[in-house]
Symmetry: C2
Subunit: 276 residues, 2 copies
């Protein structure tokens, strides 16, 4: 019997060397259920056409990655970010992606508290358009090692709190094990996030020892120290029944034959992400 990969989803960035068209074909052929599209994979393409192609291949569009980066020293720069996020919402709607993932931003040289307020203001500014388009917004807390330039939202508690403050059912949280596994409050916060109806997405990969690059040295599930099965169990206990999205940035794996890499992803998913 073929393995059930209906809950598995691949981010286009994971197999970055593939064009969107090849990724759709390969992912579909492997029996994987979903795809999360990175905006650069849409470059030069019509999002609506891309969405049709994905659905015609039997795949679900899980989300569009990524909006965000709301912070900045100047009001003009922050307005440009808002405009870009409005465009991203349009792309998500055209693509048929129900969720836009937000990497919220941070600006070195201004206090994190200021960045956090700018993030709040930015999401509040795009929220009406997201509601009008039926696109949900997912705040992704990033690992504290990205607090300088990528996100001033670094814990699940912060992300859930911000979604709650924004006060719309359209805004929730993206749980990525790479960013959050170390958090002593992780299990409690997963339960709280789910109970509040804010747990919108679940990203998986692994933390390698040693990690030789802050950005592009993520591991395949099982290659590192993240207790994946336990975290999957926790998000499911919190009511999450969506996709398990494989998001791996890896200079090593991007150099590998991507068809073989995809097979390794599937094997690793089945071995290490199953509930204990």
């Amino acid at each position: 019997m073929a393995p059930d990969l209906s809950q598995l989803c691949l981010h286009t960035i994971t197999t970055r060397p593939w064009s969107l068209e090849i990724a759709i074909e390969q992912i579909s052929r492997a029996g994987i259920g979903g795809i999360t599209v990175w905006r650069q994979a849409l470059s030069g393409r019509d999002p609506a056409g891309a969405g049709e192609r994905i659905r015609a291949a039997g795949l679900q569009v899980v989300s569009l990655c990524r909006g965000g980066f709301f912070t900045g020293l100047s009001a003009a720069g922050r307005q440009r970010a808002i405009n870009d996020n409005l465009a991203a919402i349009d792309e998500a709607a055209a693509l048929g992606a129900p969720l836009l993932v937000l990497v919220c931003g941070a600006t070195p040289g201004q206090p994190l508290e200021i960045s956090r307020q700018q993030i709040y203001d930015g999401i509040a500014a795009i929220l009406p358009h997201a509601q009008a388009c039926g696109v949900r917004l997912g705040i992704e807390p990033l690992h504290p090692m990205y607090a300088d330039t990528r996100s001033a939202i670094n814990t699940l508690a912060q992300a859930t709190d911000m979604a709650e403050r924004l006060g719309s059912a359209q805004v929730g949280v993206v749980v990525d094990v790479y960013h959050l596994w170390w958090d002593p409050h992780l299990m409690f916060e997963i339960e709280r996030c789910g109970r509040l109806g804010r747990l919108f997405a679940f990203h998986i990969c692994d933390w390698q020892t040693p990690t030789t690059d802050l950005l592009n040295d993520r591991g395949l599930m099982g290659e590192g120290c993240i207790p994946l099965a336990a975290i999957r169990q926790a998000v499911e206990a919190a009511g999450f029944d969506g996709f398990h999205e494989v998001e791996i940035f890896s200079s090593v794996y991007w150099q590998m034959d991507q068809t073989r890499f995809l097979q390794r992803i599937i094997t690793a998913y089945q071995a290490y992400c199953a509930p204990p």
Copy 2:
């Protein structure tokens, strides 16, 4: 008028190319008040003699770095770690160091909760000897990017809580801006740590953008995004009046002429660590 560097302290690791003897001479000549000795700098030396030499040069021994690494898969391995920490306490006492800094450890392949319990057990096991020797123990929470192999204690709240649970005035916390600057609860936790009498030491450097190496790419004060003056003000408001310890691991600075590097440290300290 010569600048007042009486509250400044240098870690021997910061100017790693220097032998302990040269470091003592140079630090003393620069008018710096204190030195924190790393155990490898004592290699082949009598700790008591090293302590006498430091005091004869007019310097204070601020602490000994570092004990810890209490975690492990086997009971025998954990007992070896305890034995090594007992030896480190003896070294600290002989050197005349009032504080032993603890990098607590983490073991990939076992849950962080297990590592945390082993850390607690390890400190509890060495505490009577530390009390008998008059050496304080400082739990240093490490940045979450070190949660795989270096420490399962990754926030100031965790470190303070563990010191409180251990229930001895001999156990406190080391606040290092590099590890903690991103924490949304940092200012609250500094106040709490100080109020509980647990704030034993204060380490400074900076977080560079980009950071190209997870271990040895720390910046000089002012080169990065850490709000140093604000954090110094917070630790002082919390009652801390001890040394400002410069602890920089940097492949770049270790290759530089160390006398010139020391001058840059002093200039950076005066420019960026002054209260606002």
